[in-house]
């Protein structure tokens, strides 16, 4: 099973569980009035914040000067802000479909540790360390969810879950350059150029919203959202690199405006 297949299956399972839960919930509330049918379409525009960072690493190994060079890079990506957009369509008694899109950018600091053989002497590797704060990590995701929304006066809550299709683009360390001259006893890293690499993993997402609708028409509103999404990312900076692996997405909180029609 490919990673995309696994993500789709997970999302489908989550969606099925949610779909099964919603009728049961309604059935267990005999006192509830018939729900006012909400407007058919909701447009959700959030400013989202991903508070948790992520760390990942890769290692290049290759032969140089008849011995093995090892270049280990540790990447530290901080929290992120970004837009989170969605359109939710109700198809039957609050149950419907949601299509969303979220995008985040992170500044990444790469710490590079190099062990490079001495060109003239056996078993006398030189080491050097460098840090580069100019790397980037961007993640965008499309959510295809089953959603359920229920009003409570001017308030409305909604839950949703489904498939998350990610597009991740990260700067990973390419081949460093060195200041390396006779007698070659000291190694100085001159530059740490990056290679921008991509991966498109699939995963799942699950989340909820609490919105407040304004005015008599109730066509506009504001609300907050929590979302958890995830997919396993595997990136390779150079042919000699190990894979840098981490989970895209994560927990996010957002707030924004709503439009109903």
């Amino acid at each position: 099973m490919t990673r995309l297949d696994r993500g789709v299956v997970l999302a489908a399972l989550a969606t099925a569980a949610l779909a099964a839960f919603v009728p049961v919930a309604r059935a267990q509330d005999p006192a509830a009035k018939p729900a006012k049918v909400p407007d058919r379409v909701r447009l959700v525009v959030n400013a989202a914040f991903w508070p948790t960072g992520r760390t990942y690493s890769d290692t290049q190994t290759f032969t140089e000067y008849a011995e093995q060079t090892t270049i280990h890079a540790s990447y530290d990506a901080g929290s992120a802000f970004g837009p989170d957009l969605a359109a939710q369509v109700t198809l039957y008694r609050g149950l419907g479909l949601l299509v969303g899109y979220a995008q985040s950018n992170r500044d990444v600091t790469a710490k590079v540790d190099v062990s490079r053989p001495h060109p003239l002497y056996l078993n006398q590797p030189r080491t050097a360390t460098a840090e580069n704060a100019g790397y980037q990590l961007s993640e965008s995701a499309v959510y295809l969810d089953v959603a359920y929304a229920r009003p409570a006066g001017s308030l409305e809550w909604a839950v949703f879950a489904g498939v998350a299709l990610f597009q991740v683009e990260a700067d990973l360390l390419g081949k460093p350059t060195y200041t390396d001259e006779y007698p070659y006893d000291e190694l100085v890293i001159a530059s740490t150029p990056s290679n921008s690499v991509k991966d498109s993993p699939a995963g799942f997402n699950v989340g909820g919203r609490l919105d407040y609708r304004f005015g008599s028409s109730k066509r506009f509103g504001a609300g907050v959202q929590v979302l958890y999404s995830t997919a396993s990312v595997k990136l390779k900076g150079t042919p000699e690199s190990t894979q840098a692996t981490f989970d895209a997405g994560g927990f996010s909180v957002g707030a924004g405006v709503r439009v109903y029609f």
């Binding site: 008849a66 001495h118 003239l120």
Partner: protein
């Protein structure tokens, strides 16, 4: 003209051993302080102005920033005086030291009766011919031991029958040979067993179908050649004056997969690089001439299994020996088969020993610095310098197995000499028992042990066999003594230097580098005292 008598009086008045005279009318100059230094500083300027000294080389000091060393050759009416010259050390403000040898009372005419071609013809009649870039004939004034001087042609000649390169001094008036000695700087002979099998990295160059022993990582070109046991190739090379220009890329060692298994070729190439590195890292020196002159090594000229086909002289020179030909060219003999012994020793590939390779290359350092004359005490200083520097290189790169034996990895058992205990090899460890006969160019290898034993004592300390005690700097501080002897020998000695001048030069070097009264200076003084050199 320089007033020798005045100098002698000055020296006596100052109670300094600043000037000494032998049978030759040579003034040994050791001016490093006080009035004597001021006197010599002024004299050097006057001698330069009068043309009796000429600046041959000026170098910045690689060990003490801001200092400069000038090598000044002595001239008589424009003709070089063989062995005469001074070294002046100065900083931006003044002259700091003057060392060297200056000959006085020269009254020879400088118009030769013989032409150079006639000298070459006389040599050819003996089977010799000028050899190498310094082959000559060169017109020089030769100081003789009776204190007189003679106008001569100096020729560095190759004699094929003897397989020897000799300095020959031919009277420019009569054609008589006034003096002659072997000029091949070489290790003494011994015997060895197989390749050591140690793993090391080799700096090579890709080319052709594989790789060649051409080091492009170090600043100078270091090339090691494989003559592939073609005797004619060696003869052709010698016929071309052992000139590096006669070595071609086709002679380089080769390997298809860059996994080198030819131990002799590998060791010659790698250890030449180590030696360059040692001089650079210890002393800041850039190669033999301090200007990254190319280094060439020759291996596999004669097949060791063919040793029976050759004369004893050839075996001793080209099988069980390594040679510095000059101009950065080294030759490494392939030794003798394991079942053969020479003087009770086995002779392995001579390049298998780091100290042998470093020894030969150190002759090159001498060639471009003090240019010590290769006989008597100056020749012994040359050999001692090579043993001391090669021991330093061994401790630097092979600390786990380093010792004070010379050539022990190629000549087994025991190597050729011991800096720690010269007497165990039958060599003198004190000036009072120095060899004074004609063999070994006046004992260049034999008497070198007196000097190198002082080097050992200055490092390790201890009690000399005859009782004197030396407070050495200790093995952990060996770098101090290595730097002192390097500086003393390369910066302050001149071609006809004596042991006494070497003592003065190294004491001055210790003061320069570590200040008067330092542990290094004390060790050096005590060490020279212990071996009887004053």
């Amino acid at each position: 003209m320089f007033d020798r008598q005045a100098l002698l009086c000055l020296s006596t008045a100052l109670a300094l051993p600043a000037l000494a005279a032998g049978a030759e009318r040579a003034a040994r100059v050791e001016a490093s302080s006080g009035e004597h230094l001021r006197e010599w500083s002024g004299r050097v300027d006057r001698l330069l102005a009068s043309g009796e000294l000429a600046v041959r080389l000026t170098r910045d000091d690689t060990m003490i920033p801001g200092r400069r060393h000038e090598r000044l050759a002595q001239l008589h009416r424009g003709v070089p005086v063989f062995g005469g010259g001074l070294v002046r050390q100065s900083d931006a403000a003044s002259t700091l030291t003057v060392f060297g040898t200056f000959y006085e009372g020269i009254d020879v005419e400088v118009a030769p009766r013989l032409r150079p071609a006639e000298v070459e013809a006389r040599l050819a009649a003996r089977g010799g011919r000028p050899f190498g870039s310094r082959g000559g004939p060169e017109l020089v004034v030769l100081p003789l031991e009776d204190g007189s001087y003679r106008l001569v042609y100096r020729v560095r000649a190759f004699f094929q029958e003897e397989m020897d390169v000799r300095q020959v001094f031919v009277d420019a008036a009569t054609g008589a040979v006034l003096r002659e000695y072997s000029d091949l700087r070489k290790q003494a002979a011994g015997l060895a067993t197989g390749v050591l099998g140690d793993q090391k990295k080799i700096s090579v160059a890709p080319g052709g179908a594989g790789f060649t022993t051409s080091d492009r990582l170090r600043p100078p070109a270091i090339s090691t050649y494989d003559f592939r046991f073609e005797v004619n190739r060696l003869i052709l090379f010698l016929d071309a004056d052992a000139s590096p220009a006669n070595l071609t890329a086709a002679d380089l060692g080769t390997d298809a997969d860059n996994v080198w298994t030819d131990g002799a070729l590998v060791d010659a190439h790698v250890y030449a690089g180590y030696t360059y590195d040692y001089y650079f890292k210890r002393f800041g020196r850039r190669g033999l001439d301090n200007n990254n002159i190319a280094i060439h090594g020759i291996t596999h000229a004669l097949r060791r299994e063919d040793w029976r086909q050759w004369s004893p002289g050839t075996i001793l020179t080209f099988f069980a020996n390594a040679i510095y030909f000059g101009d950065g060219v080294m030759y490494y003999g392939d030794g003798l088969p394991p079942n053969v012994t020479l003087y009770g020793q086995h002779v392995n590939y001579t390049a298998a020993a780091l100290d042998v390779v470093a020894h030969e290359l150190s002759h090159g350092v001498t060639e471009y610095t003090s240019n010590l004359e290769y006989e008597n005490e100056s020749g012994a200083l040359d050999e001692a310098f090579c043993d001391m520097m090669s021991t330093g290189a061994e401790f630097y790169f092979q600390p786990a197995k380093a010792d004070y034996l010379a050539g022990e990895d190629a000549f087994t058992p025991g190597g050729l000499r011991s800096l720690q205990n010269p007497m165990s090899y039958g060599y003198p460890d004190h000036y009072s028992i120095r060899y004074q006969g004609p063999d070994d160019n006046g004992g260049v290898h034999i008497n070198s042990n007196i000097v190198s034993h002082a080097f050992y004592l200055a490092i390790e300390g201890g009690r000399h066999r005859l009782g004197a005690t030396v407070q050495g700097v200790g093995g952990a501080n060996r770098e101090q003594i290595e730097r002192v002897f390097y500086r003393g020998f390369t910066s302050f000695l001149t071609p006809r230097a004596t042991f006494a001048l070497a003592r003065a030069a190294t004491i001055q070097a210790a003061r320069d580098l570590y200040n008067p009264g330092s542990a290094a200076e004390t060790a050096v003084i005590q060490a020279w005292n212990a071996v009887g050199v004053h």
